[in-house]
Subunit: 358 residues, 2 copies
DNA sequence: TCATCCTGCTAATGCGCATTAGCACTACGA
DNA sequence: TCGTAGTGCTAATGCGCATTAGCAGGATGA
């Protein structure tokens, strides 16, 4: 009564063997024997077995195959952000699209760890009933992952790839070059004549947030140390955009670099409410693509990270790591993709200086 | 060398047993024994074993658990439409969102069958390396499923739920009431004064297409047999919207019921190109929600099938079927959800008749 | 004093498959 | 005539776990 399911037990190799008048081993050999093994089995026998298999509609039990030491072409997808489906799905959709396309291409099935074993406020791959080992390897998604968690992953020897740059040593990843992308946008704003910059970033210590900040600060430092010193960084509380807006206005910046599209949209609204025109009074640069569902937002000048490609490349890297033939050298375990820029309508030259103060 | 992965072999119950000075059975009992079994094991022993488990970071191998007759809280998601990720993902995104949310709620992981074993032009769950049996049960998505395939599923005894109505006997499903929804829209158009109807449907024999057609025809028949007789059904070839447009125009209809949002958008464009105003010259009613990514389309008067809920309810039904405690009666194995209507801007009264012909 | 019951475990088995060692037999060359 | 090589298979084992029967030893009751 504890059987998984199904009224009738599934047909097994042993039954096929009986029907065909051979041993279970022979059936197994016929089903997956290598050429060398098959050469020992005459065509007549093989055909007979195959015939029985076809008639009986036999399908090998993947669980047993797996236990017997065969991978099952399964890739796990683990997401650290708890609210996977509802809140964050928008964000991950394009990633998943890329992953799925590549999975289809490579013949992998995808195991989504949607069951949320949230312990002590965080998700962890390591919990007593983790199904992670059902998969041959695993992709890790999420804005933030703890170093300790990643170290355990590395130590466990379980093959995985992180989607996004990770500092933890030994972690294979595919990343987007947010630093270079942000730098390029800073330079563009500079060319437009902007000298007062503000960065409105997500309140996170995640690598991607830091990369954007680094790109922002480095570019400014290269261009003009005074402007760099004047630049303001503001951590945005998604629950209190008014505060961020106030901080932005009092910073005196003529251009705002905003990390999260959702924040950009909210701030854009606040600006409209106060009669501040974007971009005439204040330029907006957004450091990611708005998710598709948010219509209504303006056509931001922004970064367009290649999310679908990021997903696809991550899976491709993982599949290389899984290939026993391949010995992927260290330097090929970390990839960085260029980040595209999208010219939008929200970056224009600043208003000509109406002289300083009153 | 054929081991799945991981440099060091994973720690097993046997090793835990040795470390704790007990037998493997005892470890197993400690880990998952029912209360009755556990009562035979004194707290001291249990604690010792648990301590070793904690220290060794032991995690049970889900594959072995599964083989030994335990389900693993895994739900398979199979999609019949081949181009799952790229072309059709848009369509399935909302469905998947609902499924994922429910999976998280119920503690299930999701197995996406993205590897595409397309045989003879069609996908099939039944192929020699099907991993479907890794899952406890399975959701079937797709516009069309062959009866034979579904019959095999029913016969196999493997628990599953089809997303969308299926005629095949014994198939559990959750569906959207497209017939009633379409009927309601027909009535609304009637109230606006329309008497000449056209239905532009997808060229498919899928149940959902037929349901809409049924709803369309039944409503008209109820309202006025002459109008019903005058109504035209046009199968739209997505590659040749011009033909559909021509057929629509020559039908003399004052309102077009269009099944696929993509077709509606294409036809709307053709109308614009010919100077035909929608809805002033011709009303449009669409029988599904446009996917989000297609911005630019007008605000159609349309059906808004509750896709996310459809996904969630399907999984909920499946989980009920999987519960050994429950014996779901036949009539609870098929659910139909109401389909919402969205008032849009494309259904208005027809132009007053400018008398017949010239 | 012996039968009975309880306690605290363990040995043994099976889940379905892959893999390896090796058996029985034939053919063939020397 | 024997040794060798090949052919056509099968028996046996293990993967890691869950489950069940049952054993050894002590306590308890009649």
């Amino acid at each position: 009564m504890t059987t998984t399911s199904g009224s009738k037990r599934r047909i097994t190799q042993r039954q096929i063997a009986q029907l065909a008048g051979v041993s279970q081993s022979t059936v197994s050999l016929v089903v997956n024997g290598k050429a060398e093994a098959l050469s020992r089995i005459p065509a007549a026998t093989r055909d007979r077995v195959l015939e029985v298999i076809r008639e009986a509609e036999y399908v090998a039990d993947p669980v047993a195959r797996s236990l017997a030491g065969h991978g099952n072409h399964l890739i796990g997808v683990f997401t650290y952000e708890p609210a996977f489906p509802t809140a964050s799905l928008d964000f991950y959709t394009s990633l998943l699209t890329g992953i799925e396309a590549e999975a289809e291409h490579l013949g992998y099935d995808l195991l989504l760890f949607t069951s949320a074993p949230v312990q002590e406020g965080k998700r962890s791959v390591f919990h007593p009933y983790s199904r992670i080992r059902l998969a041959d390897g695993c992709l890790l998604l999420g804005r933030e992952m703890e170093g300790e968690e990643l170290e355990r992953m590395v130590a466990s020897g379980f093959p995985f790839v992180a989607v996004g740059r990770r500092d933890t040593p030994g972690v294979p990843y595919v990343a987007v070059d947010y630093a270079a992308g942000t730098s390029a946008l800073v330079e563009r704003a500079w060319e437009h004549g902007h000298r007062d910059f503000a960065l409105l970033h997500v309140d996170s210590t995640g690598e991607s947030t830091r990369d954007r900040r680094t790109g922002f600060e480095d570019a400014l430092a290269r261009l003009d140390s005074a402007a760099a010193a004047r630049a303001t960084a503001i951590a945005v509380d998604p629950a209190d955009h008014a505060a961020a807006w106030a901080a932005l206005r009092s910073s005196g910046a003529t251009v705002a670099f905003i990390e999260a599209p959702a924040d950009a949209i909210a701030l854009h609204k606040l600006a409209g409410a106060e009669g501040v025109s974007i971009p005439d009074d204040l330029s907006f640069v957004v450091l990611a693509d708005p998710s598709r569902s948010r219509e209504g937002g303006p056509d931001f000048t922004r970064l367009s990270p290649p999310r679908a490609r990021l997903g696809a490349e991550s899976l491709a890297l993982l599949s290389r790591l899984l290939d026993p033939e391949l010995d992927v050298p260290e330097h090929q375990r970390r990839l960085t993709l260029d980040c595209a820029l999208t010219d939008g309508a929200t970056l224009v030259p600043p208003r000509p200086t109406t002289s300083a103060s009153a």
